[in-house]
């Protein structure tokens, strides 16, 4: 059986960042990719998607973005192009069209079984992504048979939807963005709003991601936050490229908002009555963040160099949001589940999961020679950002190198 020192599973931003680290350290490795490089970005995203992070944040494999527009936002197809370019330039040892079927321990490390044969290795890096599967609640099966159901992974464009009203469930980045484009396509859209965050795209003249970066909000270590389990469940940053999107802008465009979808019974969607509190929480958290930015600007004496502090209109909550919708009778033809994503480690035959099936890890270190990457707040908030993969890869490669007897400073 073929043996390599390290097998990386997945050729996305995490896999390439780790590969770059191992190349530098001279550690023999292979990246196993179920499809093509950047497969999720390539095949599981919608047509209109521009990255939510400005280009200066979108470097790959340890390299800074080298394009012409650092403050711009790239279309997902440009990102895929840059993935191909980067992988070729660094000669990353990628084996495409190879699906991992199982990972088991062996006397010398691990046995990785794939649909192209088996390999043994000393280390495994699971870089297959936090967004492998859409998280769809069990009561989705209670929807009427005639209802077309989509997730952000198989939705491509509004014209693929039937004519008629659409219920979008979930108001984080994906849900808000897709509600906007579906409403703009002429399909009356209702957005069911659960726990969500709210951000302005720009604040005091600069992109909000720049402020998050300079105040240090994206790089606080997982060992320094109060309740890491809770932080890891925090919803995504609700942003859209180049523009502010929030429940107010969506309502201006005609989207109706309701509370969290609580259940589906006899074809009727039942919504929670807690909408006003969830909106209040999102507004409070946004204002707390803006206050941190104001304080940072004040502390650094930059107050006169940027526009003045401001606060945005509170989220407008309808007086009596709908509590139920008889979907078929009201003319709903499609439901889009933007209810989050989860990683997929079903092939990992090791007792490393908690009772809810979540991977147990300490900053990406799962057990001897087994590493994860790209998970929510794995080592810091930016663990799930494109350029955040770089520092995580460096830290885990140092751990991996020390384990196999490399000196710490490679």
């Amino acid at each position: 059986m073929k043996h390599v020192n390290t097998i990386i599973i997945g050729a996305g931003q995490s896999g390439l960042a780790m590969s770059a680290q191992l190349i530098t350290r001279g550690i023999d490795h292979v990246i196993l990719e179920r499809g093509q490089i950047a497969n999720s970005w390539r095949s599981e995203r919608w047509d209109s998607l521009y990255l939510l992070s400005p280009n200066w944040m979108n470097g790959l494999a340890g390299k800074a973005y080298d394009g012409p527009n650092c403050d711009g936002f790239m279309h997902v197809s440009e990102l895929v192009f840059r993935f191909d370019q980067t992988a070729a330039a660094m000669s990353a040892p990628i084996q495409t069209e190879t699906t991992v079927l199982s990972v088991n321990t062996s006397p010398t490390g691990y046995v990785v079984q794939t649909d192209q044969g088996a390999m043994t290795c000393t280390n495994v890096v699971m870089a297959n992504g936090a967004c492998a599967r859409s998280n769809v609640p069990g009561f989705a099966t209670n929807l009427p048979q005639t209802m077309h159901q989509f997730t952000p992974q198989n939705y491509k464009r509004p014209d693929d939807l039937p004519d008629g009203k659409v219920l979008v469930i979930g108001a984080s980045a994906s849900g808000q963005q897709l509600a906007r484009e579906i409403q703009a396509s002429g399909r009356q859209t209702t957005l069911a709003v659960g726990t969500h965050l709210r951000f302005p795209r720009t604040y005091r003249g600069k992109d909000i991601m720049m402020w998050l970066d300079v105040i240090g909000a994206t790089s606080v270590s997982h060992t320094e936050v109060d309740d890491i389990a809770r932080v890891r469940r925090t919803p995504s940053l609700t942003l859209v490229a180049d523009d502010t999107i929030d429940l107010n802008t969506l309502q201006n465009e005609g989207v109706e908002i309701t509370g969290r979808l609580a259940a589906v019974q006899d074809g009727t969607a039942l919504f929670s009555g807690s909408l006003s509190n969830l909106c209040e929480v999102a507004d409070l958290k946004m204002n707390r963040l803006l206050t941190s930015v104001d304080e940072w600007i004040e502390d650094n004496g930059l107050g006169t160099l940027v526009p003045a502090s401001e606060r945005f209109e509170a989220t407008r909550v309808p007086t009596a949001p709908k509590l139920k919708l008889d979907l078929a009778r009201e003319g709903f033809k499609a439901v889009l589940w933007a209810t989050g994503y989860e990683p997929d480690f079903h092939w990992l035959n090791l007792p490393v999961f908690d009772r809810k099936g979540r991977l147990i890890h300490d900053g990406g270190v799962v057990s001897d020679g087994l590493y994860a990457m790209g998970l929510p707040y794995m080592r810091q908030r930016q663990s799930t950002f494109l350029n955040g993969a770089q520092s995580d890869a460096a830290a885990l490669a140092a751990h991996l190198g020390a384990r196999i007897g490399q000196p710490l400073a490679a």
Partner: protein, 188 residues
């Protein structure tokens, strides 16, 4: 070197250490977190009834309050009733206010916020056309509930709002009222 430690001196009379200890213990022992609450209700004549609560199940075994508690429910003279207690719907409103108020004290304690007073004013709107069977399109229950808190605490208005918001997110009664739930009724 001068090391400054922030000391949490807030005392709202909530034993947060015990609650946090219970949270940690029950995270590792999910079976012990399964509770069943009970109330026994007896008809007293007319629309007057009396509920008694004492026993409950939790932490893996039968438990008890330190004493029986009784709650009388009746209806006011405007309903041609004897008015020997609050109406059941007023008891619901008071349960909601009590649950959120307990949450406010606990969350504030956990955040080191000293509270001096908390008052909650609760209102629920109801169209009697529902329960009287006048109009099938009108629901029996409240069509809107409003709560107004007056809180005196050593914290900014924003921080007080955040405490109230967090209290709603952790409230059992708030969840019971805002989300659908199944109820099974049998006759012995």
């Amino acid at each position: 070197m001068n090391v400054q430690t922030e000391i949490n001196t807030a005392d709202n009379g909530v034993n947060v250490e015990a609650l946090m200890g219970a949270r940690a213990a029950l995270t590792d022992a999910p079976a012990a977190a399964q509770f069943t609450w009970r109330a026994d209700c007896e008809w007293m004549g007319g629309v007057h009834s009396r509920s008694t609560v004492n026993g409950f199940f939790g932490l893996g075994e039968e438990q008890n309050h330190t004493t029986d508690f009784t709650i009388d429910a009746d209806h006011p003279p405007q309903f041609a009733a004897s008015d020997k207690g609050a109406t059941p719907v007023e008891i619901i409103l008071s349960a909601l206010a009590s649950c959120l108020t307990a949450g406010v004290a606990s969350v504030a304690q956990n955040r080191g916020i000293q509270i001096h007073s908390v008052k909650a004013h609760v209102e629920g709107d109801m169209d009697l056309a529902g329960i009287l069977g006048i109009d099938a399109d009108v629901r029996n229950g409240f069509n809107a509930i409003r709560i107004r808190f007056e809180i005196d605490a050593d914290a900014s208005p924003e921080d007080i709002k955040a405490v109230v918001a967090q209290s709603q997110r952790r409230s059992a009664v708030f969840d019971i009222i805002t989300n659908p739930g199944n109820v099974h009724v049998t006759v012995a």
